[in-house]
Symmetry: C2
Subunit: 370 residues, 2 copies
């Protein structure tokens, strides 16, 4: 049989790709586990003990479908944010929500603006609808607000993606700069403001919660500071009509019952969150010091990772990363031009940073010798 069903032209043209190779895949390829898992910006401090207990208790009730309205979690989030429940939508992590917002506002050929080297999964979803990515280079290792704005206007783009704090550089803009950017945006351009790292940022980096503008959706997650990356739960808040539109496209049974329960409990334990945020801050300082002690330059970070300028070219940083991987230390690195001189190290547990301390100088030497 040579005939087969034809993929749509847009899908047919796409490569078979995975936006990220997970550490598990690398471990399978290596045939050995990593000793330090400090590459995916997870929180090795784990979720709150209250959340762990609640999940264990909830396991037996997993025969029930999840509430397709995610109601209890949305109520808790709305209360947390000082909003109405109609201003919040929950999704399968920010990844799932990015897919939806792209499908809502972009179609074949639509120009979509982002930063060159920013979140690849957003780009993946843009490609899946056949939209046209317009990447704007970082400027001084930060997402270039003026450059993004210029691109939006030049292309008449209906979507612009901005992460604050950003990944992979860990940089951030203060709230007043973000607000200036929002003010200057065309009213017909949707700003997708990814605040995945909001909890570890200085309070001054986050604009006040304000849902008065129908061209801003803000996305947050339980994957980072809340320590629930594996449970897949993120949320978006904004104008009620925009939020209601997500109902048109979302997988109503996409967020598991376990995720809804875990998210609600995590949100209720703000004391634990504060502890983690303090540990993340200490971890950032420690990673920065290790980098400096090895003659590398840590960049300022508002996230749960530190990006480190290796002081050479992309090939050198890549060699450092590869040498770390060979030494059983899972880290990642930016790949876009200019940013690619860096490696990226997530805040991990003390014993993981001990291993990092021990292996980094060897990896640098090996990279220099290569």
């Amino acid at each position: 049989m040579t005939n087969r069903p034809a993929l749509t032209p847009v899908i047919n043209a796409l490569p078979v790709t995975v936006p990220f190779v997970g550490p598990e895949a690398q471990e399978r390829d290596r045939g050995a586990p990593f000793r330090a898992r400090i590459g995916a910006n997870e929180s090795g401090f784990g979720p709150s003990p209250r959340v762990i207990a609640r999940m264990a208790e909830a396991a037996a009730e997993m025969w029930k479908y999840c509430d397709p309205d995610n109601y209890d979690l949305k109520v808790a989030l709305a209360r947390h944010l000082g909003l109405d429940v109609g201003n919040v939508v929950v999704g399968e992590g920010i990844d799932g929500l990015l897919n939806l917002v792209v499908r809502m506002y972009a179609t074949e050929g639509t120009p979509v603006v982002t930063s060159l080297g920013a979140y690849p999964t957003f780009n993946f979803h843009v490609a899946s609808v056949g939209a046209r990515l317009v990447p704007v280079p970082f400027r001084n290792d930060k997402e270039d607000l003026q450059g993004l704005l210029d691109a939006v206007k030049r292309e008449n783009a209906p979507i612009v993606y901005l992460s604050n704090p950003d990944n992979p550089m860990g940089s951030w803009w203060e709230a007043d700069e973000i607000l200036r950017f929002v003010e200057a945006l065309p009213e017909t351009t949707m700003l997708v403001l990814d605040e995945a790292y909001g909890e570890t940022a200085p309070a001054s980096a986050l604009p006040p919660v304000d849902i008065s503008r129908p061209n801003v959706v803000r996305m947050r997650t339980f994957s980072k500071a809340y320590g629930l990356a594996g449970i897949r739960c993120g949320y978006t808040f904004g104008d009620a009509e925009v939020i209601a539109s997500f109902e048109k496209v979302r997988n109503h049974y996409g967020v598991s019952r376990m995720a809804q329960i875990a998210g609600e409990e995590a949100l209720a334990d703000q004391a634990y969150l504060a502890e983690v945020v303090a540990k993340v801050d200490a971890g950032r300082r420690r990673i920065a010091k290790i980098a400096s002690d090895n003659g590398l330059k840590p960049l300022p970070s508002a996230t749960n990772f530190v990006t480190i300028d290796c002081g050479g070219d992309a090939a050198f940083a890549l060699a450092v990363m590869r040498n770390m991987l060979e030494r059983d230390v899972f880290i990642r690195k930016p790949m876009a031009p200019v940013l690619d001189r860096c490696i990226r190290v997530s805040v991990g547990l003390d014993h993981e940073l001990d291993i990092f301390t021990e292996e980094l100088p060897k990896a640098i030497s090996a990279a220099r010798g290569a």
Copy 2:
């Protein structure tokens, strides 16, 4: 501000809708819980004790992202099915996989064939890409294979959806009929064969596992007999090239680490599955008897529910259902013409079927009096 970002024309034209109103939403509206939850075809028997223990144990590791390859679960599924790992893809329930297959093969205006009154979530995903649903009426309370085939050929449709056993009638075709249907399909039409209820069907209803045809994908789930509806985990198997194409569009981090772990453990406990299947069979018999005792006509079922012909028109069946809901018994009913003379009752626990036994005659009387 009157301007706002414009939804794509396809999305803009869609209603803000929820394919199913969950029991939780009904409980919120009623202001009271249900005493029997036998409407969503869940398994009140719950997941295997091994699965519950494994989930409880895994809670603490939810800080780690899920493996985006779902590798361990895919290996287990492939082994279970006698396939290669490249023949299997895992998704956020069958719902998530239906979204993907629709996006892969349909776009604006594409004719997509299904049965009138079959799974509404499939229709929801078809609408979300602006494709055109071609619904074929059931025939003798079964999905009409010849009618579906005629519609496919008439419309030159690239996708046809078939569930076997089917929901909402609980009917099924024997494997040889399904195979005849597959043989007769154009090679360019993708058959989406939804086998969500496969585990509770007679073995003779399931065609042998065979991935030689690139125009068949079969979908199964942990939501039904495995008792894991809340965890969101389904899978599809088929031709390796087709399965690889899912990588182009799927949310690689959509299936939680908890779901992957639970699915793997559930699959390993086939003894528990066999116990549940036996209980489901007993429950079907009991529901059928209760229906007959009340002068109603239970339809044959290969699923974990029994559809009951109330012997009157749609209004009567609706009144029976509403009267059951008022008596705190959550059930559902088919809504498409002809099928709508029925109510649908999931196999529940003994105490739930006791409540059903007690309340059904009262609901029938009340419906007759209305």
